[in-house]
Symmetry: C2
Subunit: 311 residues, 2 copies
């Protein structure tokens, strides 16, 4: 078994100018798992570790199973409620207000790694308390070939920053957005920010810029891919997690962690994110036709490729 | 003679968090001419049409000449002052306040095309009153092979929008920024905005997104190039004009207006813009070593190129 995904499996209420979607399945672990499932095969399953309450809909679990995601690592707390988030997007879709956050089962999440997950070679740590992410790494008997960690500004506050910095020393790739990179480094220039963050542990850094694309840094190399220009963005929720899921899914599938292959993984991650934002919640990630992803990647090639004869 | 550039040749006072530059040479015509001069040759000169007052420094004229720019079309109004702009950038360099705008000689600019400019095949209309841009097109005896028009939100106000829309029907390529594209089209999605704007005259549309790159639209094709991630942006003044100068300079030099060649022109324009923002005012465009541009374009190739075997 190849890919282990840890993250929140939650219920979201999402308001956008286009409508409202109430108590729909969401969370970093959900988006990452569904996205990476498109790169899985019989021998390379996606295995998720998470915790839910008894309010998580059976339909959500069915969705995982239909996408081949192994849910043996999802703990169900019978008398508790799932993590709940209620957010509202503004007209430009680039800013949002969090109206409600109920930690519920996530408050004391103690991740349990099923024995059958122990041989995973790729680990994706979705956004969670850095301490929990750290626990997962420590509970694996063998260090995975590649550990990718996503996090957010909340964990950069004084109460959590030491945990975050410690967990950062244990991972290979860190994935954050541009504002978070600035906050974490104290540098406005993303190039300077990246250089500083790469001295803090991760050898690779992904900076997500939402509708403006994503950057991958490693040593002196920089790779950039835009977000696909879309006619309509319905709901950006989960786009970053979906991107991360496509990234690690592609790497796990190809089992190649070279910088050149990471470039391709960034493109595949961006392609997956473009599906995510086109519909509400996880709807854009459900039952994609087999050639849809290839077609979407082709659009990226057309969008950015040019030929210049360099002397 | 091949390229005709029309625009403001002006004096700018620029304040940024890094310092202040007082009464330095600037204006759309200046940035475009200096940028496009790197693509000129003996047979393909850059010819500028503009108007200045007697306060424009001799050193500015010398700079044009040293870069091979033909200044025969620059009228000098002996008892008047040059267009003057004073702006101040905020810390993030993405927003600025205009503190002073003095139209001076631009107030009644009546462009005169020297006879020796009449055989130009490429026309770059830098930001100016749309009526003046229109006058230039009408005063050319032969329509150029390609007309590129840059403009700004100021001309989208009720007093000028009809002029702007009329001038737009006379050009091939329109170059505006993302906010202007939204204002002009009434569409938030840039894809929808582009589709609408391309029904208003220009067959090609460039949407500039500042530090987030630029998009080129034509029919159903979209091409994107990022801005080069830089350690430090000292002064964004003139970056859009410098981009336009590189774009039209490359097209005029290669004399090829295919979409594939326009992609390359966008990359060259972005490379020129990256030089512009690295220093104050026009300083980044002065006396660039001959291999600097090639090296910069190579950085763009490294930044965005990836290899994916498409089936």
């Amino acid at each position: 078994m190849s890919l282990l995904v840890v993250g929140s499996v939650a219920l979201d209420t999402i308001e956008t100018p286009f409508g409202i979607s109430e108590r729909t399945i969401g969370g970093s672990g959900t988006y990452i798992s569904l996205s990476s499932s498109y790169f899985a095969s019989h021998s390379k399953q996606v295995n998720v570790v998470a915790v839910i309450g008894n309010d998580f809909p059976e339909k959500g679990m069915t969705t995982f199973k239909e996408h081949g995601v192994n849910t043996d690592g999802i703990q169900v707390k019978e008398n508790e409620k799932s993590f709940f988030w209620h957010g509202k997007y503004h007209h430009d879709m680039n800013s949002r207000d969090t109206l409600v956050t109920e930690l519920n089962v996530l408050g004391d999440f103690d991740p349990v790694i099923p024995e059958s997950y122990q041989d995973c070679e790729y680990l994706m740590l979705g956004n969670l308390a850095p301490k929990v992410q750290q626990n997962v790494i420590e509970r694996l008997k063998k260090r995975p070939k590649l550990i990718v960690m996503d996090t957010m500004n909340f964990w950069m506050e004084p109460a959590f920053i030491d945990d975050l910095k410690h967990t950062m020393t244990m991972v290979d790739v860190l994935s954050i957005n541009d504002e978070e990179a600035r906050q974490l480094s104290g540098e406005y220039s993303l190039v300077k920010a990246a250089r500083k963050i790469m001295t803090m542990g991760p050898k690779y850094l992904i900076i997500k810029k939402g509708e403006h694309g994503a950057l991958l840094f490693h040593e002196k190399n920089i790779f950039f891919t835009p977000a696909l220009p879309l006619e309509e963005v319905f709901d950006p929720t989960g786009a970053g997690d979906t991107f991360a899921g496509g990234f690690i899914g592609y790497l796990a599938d190809t089992d190649d962690v070279s910088f050149d292959n990471m470039k391709r993984a960034i493109v595949y991650g961006s392609a997956m994110a473009s599906f995510c934002v086109g519909k509400f919640g996880t709807d854009g990630l459900i039952d994609l036709p087999s050639d849809a992803l290839t077609e979407r990647v082709r659009e990226f090639v057309d969008l950015v490729q040019f030929e210049i004869a360099m002397v």
